[in-house]
Amino acid sequence: MTTSRRLARVLPASALVLVLGLSGCGAKTGESTADTSAAASCVETDGDAVKIGFLNSLSGTMAISEQTVRDSLDLAVKEINADGGVLGKQLDVVAEDGASEPTVFAEKAEKLITSDCVAAVFGGWTSSSRKAMLPVFESKNSLLFYPVQYEGLEASKNIFYTGATTNQQIVPGMDYLKEEGKTKVFLVGSDYVFPQTANKIINAYAEANGIEIVGEEYAPMGHTDFSTIVNKLKASGADAVFNTLNGDSNVAFFKEYKNVGLSAETTPVVSVSIAEEEIGGIGIDNVEGQLTAWNYYQTVDSPANTAFVEAFKAEYGDDRVTSDPMEAAYTSVYLWKNMVEKAESFDVADIQAAADGVSFDAPEGTVTINGDNHHIAKTAMVGKIADDGLIYTEWSSEEPIEPDPFLEGYDWAADLS
């Protein structure tokens, strides 16, 4: 079924690419110069309101995760509008569904920019969706705010990255293991771009820091039987595990991990894609005491976070939790607001010029935009999963870490890109 479904998805998608490609070619001949200026003037700023676009997967496999991001984006807009808007204008949201398909993301992004004339777009989750949207935002000269941690090695002047890049999540995660005296690390991840890239970085880090990588295993997406991988892990003599598995596989992995008698005490696992939302589904019994590396937890102790969590629960219910990507999305709307107010303009070029140094007292702590690479400085936090299903900070970097998407500041990373 998986294969037939994949085929069913690929066929229309490739047909779409073909059609889009052809129509793109047709448009380019006469309108390429008119295009950018048209996009710039298309944004309506004369009235009492200004339009912004939300683009998240509300259907398909990514809907589970992206709906939570959408909720926090809505919250931010509601707060900003109640507080008088941006430059005195109310925000008017145009929402679209990316449907978990990169091609749909590209298509809907173009629609938001050219026919809805939004001033900026917020959304995206998977790297493939971002990669698909990037050329659209560059050619139409518009802005995308992307809220999820990713594998780095990218910087576009049309994208603001408000999630972590590798040196703000993966490298600090390894720093923590090193400080704890772990010398034999096992890598396990899903078989796609983020884990492969992350593990390349971890391997380089390990070599430079006297840590031995005793195994590196990838499971196909949706893999449900981890007995062999866990057997290899156990036989490797690892004293820690770095986990880049995605989605459901985490459940099967942690259940098997516990079943063979491994535990957080003997062999801690640092995970980079399990947040508060996922813990209930994995079962607290199975992950209690295990570690995560992020830049935000619901338990972060700051006035900004208390207000954020309270507002979120008031809006969506007491049983809801907040997580890192949700916080980064919430923060991204405020960062855009602060940039617009600094630039005193909704124009893309003015915002780009004003971006450097714009900061916001986010729930995770104060974040500041780096004008060179459009990422933000973030505090890294290694957290421990507690029996109440929340994650508590175990270790954090002393100050926000400057974003370094290409890892230029690390000698050991010289050969990576």
Binding site: A235, D248, N259, G261
Partner: protein, 294 residues
């Protein structure tokens, strides 16, 4: 040596999971020729049954045992309803059953999402199934032993029903020659329904067992449906014995290749082996001896 045994065990346990997933299908697809794409969703129904039962009965051990029984009934009932409303209209039209049950699968997935929410839920394993026990110096996870035992129980029970009971005789008669069975006074309609009940019930039992190993979400079934069909096809359509051999053979093959390579490569190589095998032996491992007119 340790590695050999632990991998052999991993293969056996993977085989028993495959077998549990495929056993009900061996009955509905193998014996009745219905390509039931909703089989995986019946497994999902079993997993959610375990979740609901645990919400009522808090003792994890007791609730697991109750879930196995209740799961069988829930899955069986779903199968029965499906048979009575849709499938019975399209016997001898396997491609139509494929399309219809695929639609049913999507409806069931969405129903689960609406009832239980999109995020995964958790079922706690009972205390006596946690951790590993040591057999000949090897740490063997208890859940895996439990699932192997459950697979054995299901196979034995199903074989006994097919071999010894009047219902079993009727099922075998209908499978071998529907028209002759009908003229001999067997109600093929009632037999079909009961066969579907048992097959779908077994799917849900598999689903209850899977809560010990993996995630419980609306798409649980999609993870297993392809493997289940592979087992039935490789085993030889219509053969419980074939399904048993195929499940364990594929499990051990996957575990062995995975140990020396990677999970992704193992998956590909297992497919290559299956394709090559089916070229040489399209009827599968065990084939029915039939005295056909044609």
């Amino acid at each position: 040596m340790d590695v050999l045994f632990s991998q052999l065990f991993a293969g056996l346990s993977l085989g028993s999971v495959l077998l549990l997933a495929a056993l009900g299908l061996a009955l509905t697809f193998g014996q009745m020729g219905v390509i039931n794409m909703a089989h995986g969703e019946f497994m999902m129904a079993g997993a959610y049954t375990a979740y609901v039962v645990q919400g009522i009965v808090s003792n994890a051990g007791v609730s697991l045992m109750i879930s196995l029984v209740v799961g069988f009934l829930v899955g069986g009932t779903l199968g029965l309803v499906l048979e009575m409303t849709l499938i019975h209209r399209m016997y001898r039209r396997p491609l139509d059953t494929l399309l219809v049950t695929w639609g049913v699968a999507l409806v069931l997935q969405q129903a689960a999402r609406n009832i239980f929410g999109a995020p995964n839920v958790d079922v706690r394993a009972p205390e006596w199934l946690r951790g590993a026990i040591s057999i000949a110096g090897l740490d063997v996870p208890r859940t895996r032993l439990f699932i192997i035992a459950l697979a054995v129980v299901c196979v034995v029970a199903l074989s006994l029903v097919l071999k010894l009971t009047p219902l079993g005789r009727r099922i075998r008669a209908v499978v071998q020659n529907r028209d002759l069975a009908e003229t001999s006074g067997i109600s093929t309609k009632a037999t079909d329904r009961l066969t579907f009940f048992i097959g779908s019930g077994l799917a849900s039992v598999a689903g209850v067992a899977l809560t010990l190993l993996g995630s419980i979400g609306p798409t649980l079934g999609t993870n297993y449906i392809v493997d289940a069909f592979l087992v039935v096809v490789v085993g030889g359509i219509g053969q419980i014995k074939g399904a048993v051999i195929a499940a364990f053979a594929l499990g051990i093959l996957q575990a062995t290749i995975e140990y020396s390579t990677t999970a992704s490569i193992a998956k590909v190589l297992v497919f290559v082996v299956i394709v090559a095998f089916l070229q040489a032996r399209p009827q599968g491992l065990v084939s029915v001896r039939q005295r056909g007119i044609a």
